[in-house]
Amino acid sequence: MNTLAHGEASSYRSFLESGDRKGILAWILSTDHKRIGILYLACMVSLFFVAVIIGVLMRIEQLSTSHHIFPPAIYNAFFTVHGVIMIFMFVLPGASAVFGNFFLPIMIGARDVSFPRLNLMSWYFFIVGALVVIASLFTGDGPPDAGWTFYVPFSLRTGTNIPLGVFGVFLLGFSSILTGINFITTVHRMRAPGMTWHHMPLFVWATYATAWVQVLATPIIGVTLLLVIAERIFGIGVFDPAKGGDPVLYQHLFWIYSHPAVYIMILPAMGAITEVIPTFAHRTIFGYRAIAYSSIGIAGLGSLVWGHHMFTSGMGNAANLMFSLFTFLVAVPSAIKVFNWTATLYKGSIEVKPPMLFALTFVFLFSIGGLTGLIQGALNVNVHLHDTYWIVGHFHYVMFGGTGMGFFAALLHWFPKMFGKMYNERVAAISWFPIFIGFNMLYGGMLVLGYLGMPRRYYTHLPQYSTGHLIASIGGFIMAIGLVLFFANLVVALFKGKKAESNPWGGVTLEWHTPSPPPLENFEEIPVIKDRPYIFNPETAQ
């Protein structure tokens, strides 16, 4: 695609070594997009583990119907905190904040994002928001227990510390907005010469589409959460049925944001695996434009389907009809992507290294998740499935099997580039087995439980659901082994891994033309781009 000299001369210093400050300050005061990306990564993985452990505790509680290890109030706090951390602190910023920050500027041939200081500020919003949420667990009258959806009027009446928790989420939203603004401006203003829209790697397209959703949808939840706080403190009445408020309007406002939010979660992960698949198939991506435009399509149509979370709330029938119709339409661009990824394997030259393994797993698990989404998108089936474990199964498939696996694939793909260290590929591949098997037992079990009528957010269950819960719990423990192995491998690599080459996988996008890890300025000279990305085999290119 372009000819870049990247001789690793002796004077070369990576971004990890350069900078005036030392120690922790070199990180928390740095405006370098790569360092900020790693800051996000570190915080996110830690928070992820907290939430994962809570998830395992919930599985332990569901092992028995007669012995309750945790009282109901604690279990309610568990799923609330588990959901809030997973959603607002892991999958929502997720791939976008970590890999978007690190690679978006590099991939478009820029030295940094448009507003580096704003970028650092949004990390501070993130960390303060996270701390506030955590503080809400230990202050006031007990941890929030209303679920991550904070439905009124329960969230107004419960005695627990909802206002502080909600305020933390508000701050996290602010962080998301600032990142979005930054990325949109960066893509518009910072592209290297010759980097036209159709020369941009698809990860950039995906992050760009995500950024628009972040900017347009997040403010709605911002104001909604502020109103919940105002309701709790002053009693303004807009959501309080006792004062004539309509609780269903809260749900509208909540989902106007939170449905598009699920696409904020999945789009960057989709973008990341769109990088992984051609790299390991050693051939160009199939249907570049279709994939790029379907990202925009998902972002656009995704804003019109929020009502599918409210089919049983007594919504008007015209709304039920429209929202179900749009729900099915928004699945089309996802289908297009899946087909294009599959077609990209055709006549490739495929190496199934760990990143590829996880990327293919992404396609499989996300497809299951998406297809279960279709099933519950059908109106009358949704009536039965709403608020059961089926839904819990669906969203773990798309969020963990989709976003989570996409995140893992991206981490394996870019780890050598980010840290300049190589992990043990065999251990990574071995960790896949327990993860894959455990995953399907855990969440597949939940799907069956849900169809049989097991409601969600129950600290215990009726005896007829015991077998299902047992299988799910065992699956969870099996997956635990895999995940521990997965992360332990990376932690070991961080300290003891052998040095990574600048292009270990034979990738062709710009980030592979810089040394590993990249220098502070990314490029010695801003590259000039002459052609589209993903040309692996120029001789057969059409």
Binding site: S303, M315, G316, A319
Partner: protein
């Protein structure tokens, strides 16, 4: 990058003052209509005059008139999104 448009357009003082006067007049009309006539008319005035006033501020005070077409399109896109949000919510409320 296009250095030519970097500095932005200089809007003459006279234009600004004219726009300001127009805004004050529109406000007066709005207040007058909503106090003097009956409901329907005042709602109609609300729905026409208020966006008009906002448009004046956007186009002249905020220099939107002199911006690239892309930015203009984005502003309308954002307003469209908001209207869609409100419209779809009404779809629920009006057919309950």
């Amino acid at each position: 990058m296009e250095h030519a448009e970097e500095q932005g357009h200089v809007v003459p003082y006279r234009t600004l003052v004219k726009v300001w006067l127009l805004l004050l007049i529109l406000t007066a009309v709005l207040v007058f209509v909503s106090t003097a006539f009956h409901e329907a008319l005042s709602v109609a005035a609300l729905l026409t005059l208020t966006p008009l006033k906002a448009g004046l501020v956007f186009f002249y005070f905020m220099h939107l008139k002199y911006e690239r077409p892309f930015l203009k399109a984005m502003v309308f896109m954002v307003l469209g999104v908001l209207i869609l949000f409100i419209g779809l919510t009404f779809l629920d409320i009006s057919y309950r």
